[in-house]
């Protein structure tokens, strides 16, 4: 092998190496990182969501039984990569399982003397305070929880998280109770939900 030739670096060469090197480095690192992180930037810093901020009908308050939760499935529109609002993109949806129960499983008195036709503002207020609209994803690691009627509890199959009918944490490793959806009850008794959670961020829902 030939001897390595070690020429001195001139001042001009040093400056060119420094500036051009920095520019090339910046072009090759900043856009790729921003490209990869764009969902993170949009979600965490700009507060954008993949699911439009709309109400979706779940069911009626008159269907929710006493002593046991009712499971609904609701389909939210979802805009993500090739599915979006742009007419040139496809339409995507995300399906959620929503658990609805009355506080402590007791049908509130406001519902007993309410008619299917219309609820008054005060009735709606009372029902709203008595209704639990919960995600069925365990607050620990997101596994689907299920209702065991003989135990009157929700159990998570993954690590044994236990919740009561209100979604409150009874035992196991979860850090908190089940996640509650933002919901509203309308005059006809319809329950409407948003893809938004009032106590923490469940992420994979």
């Amino acid at each position: 092998m030939a001897e390595l030739q070690k020429d001195p670096v001139t001042r001009a060469q040093f400056i060119v190496m420094g500036t051009v090197g920095t520019l090339v480095g910046a072009v090759l690192t900043i856009p790729p990182v921003a490209f990869m992180l764009s969902p993170t930037i949009k979600t965490n810093f700009l507060g954008q969501s993949d699911v439009p901020d709309d109400w979706h009908e779940l069911g009626s308050v008159f269907e929710v039984p006493s002593g046991t939760p009712k499971l609904y499935r609701v389909e939210f529109p979802q805009n993500q990569t090739y599915n979006g609002e742009d007419p040139l993109l496809g339409k995507g949806t995300i399906m959620n399982a929503v658990l609805v129960s009355w506080m402590d499983g007791e049908i509130p008195s406001a519902l007993e003397n309410a008619s299917q036709g219309g609820l008054s503002a005060s009735q709606i207020e009372e029902l709203t305070s008595q209704l639990n609209v919960m995600s069925n994803h365990c607050a620990h690691l997101g596994c689907p929880v299920r209702w065991f009627p003989d135990r009157d509890e929700f159990l998570c199959p993954c690590h044994g998280g236990i919740y009561d009918i209100n979604g409150g944490l009874i035992g196991g490793p979860p850090p908190q109770g089940l996640y509650y959806y933002a919901f509203e009850i309308r005059e006809d008794g319809g329950i409407y939900v948003k893809h938004e959670f009032t106590n923490g961020e469940p992420w994979v829902v």
């Binding site: 990869m36 969501s49 993500q80």
Partner: protein
Amino acid sequence: MIARIRAWALGVGQAAADWMEVRTGVVSMLEHFLYEPVPKRGMWLYTLGSATLFLIVLQFLTGILLLFYYVPTTDEAWNSIYYIMTEAYFGLLIRGIHFWSANVLIVVVGLHMLRTFFSGAYKAPRELNWVVGVVLILLVTVLAFTGYALRWDAEGFWAWEVGIKIGSYTPFVGSYVATFLLGGDTVGPATLSRVFAIHVWLLPALLAPLIGIHLYLLRKHGEFGSEFEYTKRLAELRERKQIEEYALYEEGDESPRE
């Protein structure tokens, strides 16, 4: 006649080898690789490393083959795997090799690591090769985990779901980890695209050069190092010391008595 053909073929072969040797040095390199002295003891133990390499090569080959049919979209991922399993010729075999050799790979990599640990083969000057090996085992684990999710079936999806949820508990940056892995704030097409990019392009691209470095460092320092490679010499040393010791005692015994 046959002798002449044979001589001619040998001549052509020799010429081709010489031609390649002058331009690339491949013949002497091959010779160097093939005739490297290796320990006689532990021949079978040392097959764990080559078995790992073999299984990873199988992963690369069958992975590339699966990409001929696999579609990384939420709507078609499951269907394309179903097609591979039911319609494509030898689909059962190609996907079976990809799946089962991944499982066997985890076992063999684990044994390879244990062998290295218990024979102390990470000691100087082989520390860096151990470090590269730990990086490789981490890459293989993440590859196994992401490959699971690519199926987009219940099993794979829920495993990935739990993985993202664990990531969201990372101290200080949990929510950023979650949105990065999800590609948004919900699970959907972007999530699968990310898993696909990581499993099929990013991690193999990191794995391949690191395997090269692992092999280069192995060849540089050799497989020797364990005391187990010096068994005979150690035995001889012990024997010689014992003889000397006895000789010393004999001398010592004699002098005080007389």
